[in-house]
């Protein structure tokens, strides 16, 4: 399928045809395609992803070693989304058709148009090249988390803020809000005690729907900031034509994608009691 014979590539330019044939036999590349495929599937089931030329063996342990960095970045991005997007949406809804509302609409449209890697580049220019406040690449303590997190989370913050605003407006027009006001609660209490819980559901929806973005975006952002996660590794692997490694990381992303979607479904039920009896 993939152009470029792996054995020829691995043996190097000076290798003789006999060496190449030997390597091909050792890698199992001389077997029929169907057999290669079934052997591979059997290996996958046992956690053996095949021969990665980068790591000279099964890439799985090396990929898993880089996984925490990627998960850390995603976790901070989700945290930032909830901490920034939710209050922004609530504020815009409460201040409906006044300046905070307009400012938010403006920001949302802007953030949805900006590519995450360019936002990251702009952050580097301002915060590290000009000001020297933050390290521009690599992982060296909490400060190096700031820019990658913003670059990755910006889009989610915008989506969650917009969604929260919409749902809040809908909820604020409902009878139970009027009842709460009638019994003497002020707006802050009504929002905090009654409305917010209903507005949380779409936040989870957005994060669930955008998991794919989060995974794909992490590759780009990790590349930009030389973040030591699996996304950066994936691009290195492509450069080195290490298809085994690319495949291993892709499979890992798919598994992560499915797990997060499962987690979102569980979270739904926890947040929304109405679903428990459905």
């Amino acid at each position: 399928m993939v152009p470029g014979d792996e054995a020829t590539l691995m043996a190097g330019a000076t290798a003789s045809q006999a060496d190449i044939d030997l390597l091909r036999a050792r890698l199992g590349l001389d077997r029929p395609l169907v057999e290669q495929y079934t052997t591979r599937l059997a290996g996958l089931a046992r956690g053996n992803f095949g021969y990665s030329s980068t790591f000279r063996g099964n890439p799985l342990p090396h990929v898993l070693a880089r996984l925490p960095a990627t998960m850390l970045l995603m976790a901070t991005a989700i945290l930032a989304t909830v901490l920034l997007g939710l209050p922004a949406g609530v504020l815009a809804a409460v201040a409906h058709n006044r300046w905070p509302d307009y400012l938010l609409s403006f920001l949302v449209v802007g953030l949805l148009a900006v590519p995450n890697f360019w936002l990251g580049l702009m952050l580097i220019v301002v915060l590290s090249v000009e000001r020297g406040w933050l390290p521009s690449f690599g992982f060296s303590g909490l400060a190096s988390l700031v820019m990658p997190t913003i670059a990755l989370a910006a889009r989610l913050v915008a989506l969650v803020a917009r969604m929260t605003r919409g749902v809040m407006l809908e909820e604020l027009a409902k009878d139970y809000v009027r009842t709460a006001h009638a019994k003497g609660l002020d707006t802050a209490a009504v929002v905090a005690r009654h409305v917010l819980r209903n507005a949380l559901i779409p936040t989870v929806t957005v994060i669930g729907l955008q998991t794919g973005y989060l995974l794909g975006g992490s590759v780009v952002v990790e590349r930009l900031f030389a973040w030591p996660g699996i996304g950066d590794l994936m691009i290195n692997a492509i450069g080195a034509r290490d298809h085994t490694l690319v495949q291993a990381i892709t499979i890992l992303f798919v598994v992560g994608f499915l797990l997060v979607n499962l987690a979102v479904d569980v979270l739904y039920v926890l947040i929304n009691p109405r679903l428990r009896h459905a």
């Binding site: 890697f117 989506l159 749902v167």
Partner: protein, 300 residues
């Protein structure tokens, strides 16, 4: 509003709590303001198309013309946006580069819309095993995050325009197919389809003349909203070194080249990003406006 320019929203367009909410509360912008949005987005798009078509004639210098005495120069009277690491005029490169981004995005969404719509029509109309098989493939594609799928495909095909278009198209086909299938399922049981079938109209003709027209609005809206995403995916692939190959002045590729000189020449990474963002903005605003105008369900 759903995630219009969504980097990876799988179900864009058919899960839409926010839009419905905004509408029932009367929060949606007025129709006139929407018209203005469409005009703004459309105007910008016309500008980009002009750049793409006339780029080489509009640019003050050649895209790969070097001024070796003025390397990494900041903005000046001769070079309005400065020059890059080998003395090429940044403005000229951006103007000429419009064609790569725009062509890749438009070809991808048109291909994805054609393939996706065909699959969706066939699956939804015939149902049964055909539907089961096609949707199983679609669901399989949907388990791989959008950009990851594009990266994996581009890594197999290799960097270049073809890889870029195939990668972007493939990651869009499944969501379009699912969306159109949903529309077809709604229409299939209608009397006029049953009537056409009863008088012996062939399936292909029923699909083309009676079913497809009911899905075109959905398709047009979805396509225009996907275009913004296509630009984002294309430039991300370029940035990762998997898109159009240098020295072609593709904007994402230019940004990744500029990254290396960010300490000494930050001007290199500003303009290409503005060009990308403005194009995505134009597609998003145009698509949103189009949806509000065409989708009857949204006129509350």
């Amino acid at each position: 509003m759903p995630e219009s320019g969504g980097g990876a929203d799988l179900y864009a367009g058919w899960v839409d709590p926010g839009g419905v909410g905004a509408q029932t509360a009367g929060a949606g912008p007025t129709r006139r303001r929407r018209g203005a949005h469409m005009l703004l987005g459309g105007g910008l798009l016309v500008g980009y198309v002009a750049l793409a078509a006339l780029g080489p004639w509009l640019a003050p210098y050649g895209a790969n013309e070097q001024d070796l005495l003025g390397v990494l120069a900041p903005a000046s009277a001769e070079h309005w946006l400065g020059t890059d690491q080998i003395g090429r005029d940044l403005l000229s490169r951006i103007v000429v580069g419009a064609r790569f981004t725009l062509t890749a995005a438009l070809v991808s969404v048109i291909l994805a819309a054609s393939v996706g719509a065909t699959v969706g029509l066939v699956a939804g109309y015939f149902g049964g095993r055909i539907d089961g098989g096609l949707m199983a493939v679609a669901d399989l594609l949907l388990t791989v995050p959008n950009l990851i799928l594009a990266i994996a495909i581009a890594s197999v095909i290799g960097a270049g325009m073809t890889g870029l278009i195939v990668a972007t198209t493939t990651s869009f086909v499944a969501p379009v197919a699912r969306l159109i299938r949903g529309r077809v399922l709604e229409v299939r049981q209608e009397d006029f389809v049953q009537a056409a079938r009863a008088v012996g109209v062939r399936d292909a003709r029923i699909l083309a003349r009676h079913v497809l027209p009911h899905a075109t609005t959905t398709l047009v809206i979805e396509t225009s909203l996907l275009a913004g995403q296509a630009v984002l995916i294309g430039s991300a692939l370029g940035f990762l070194g998997l898109g159009v190959r240098p020295p072609a002045p593709e904007w994402g590729t230019m940004l990744s080249g500029g990254r290396e000189f960010i300490e000494v020449a930050p001007h290199l990474v500003v303009a290409p990003g503005v060009a990308i963002s403005l194009l995505v903005f134009a597609f998003n605003v145009f698509g949103d406006g189009l949806r509000d105008r065409l989708d009857p369900r949204r006129h509350a």
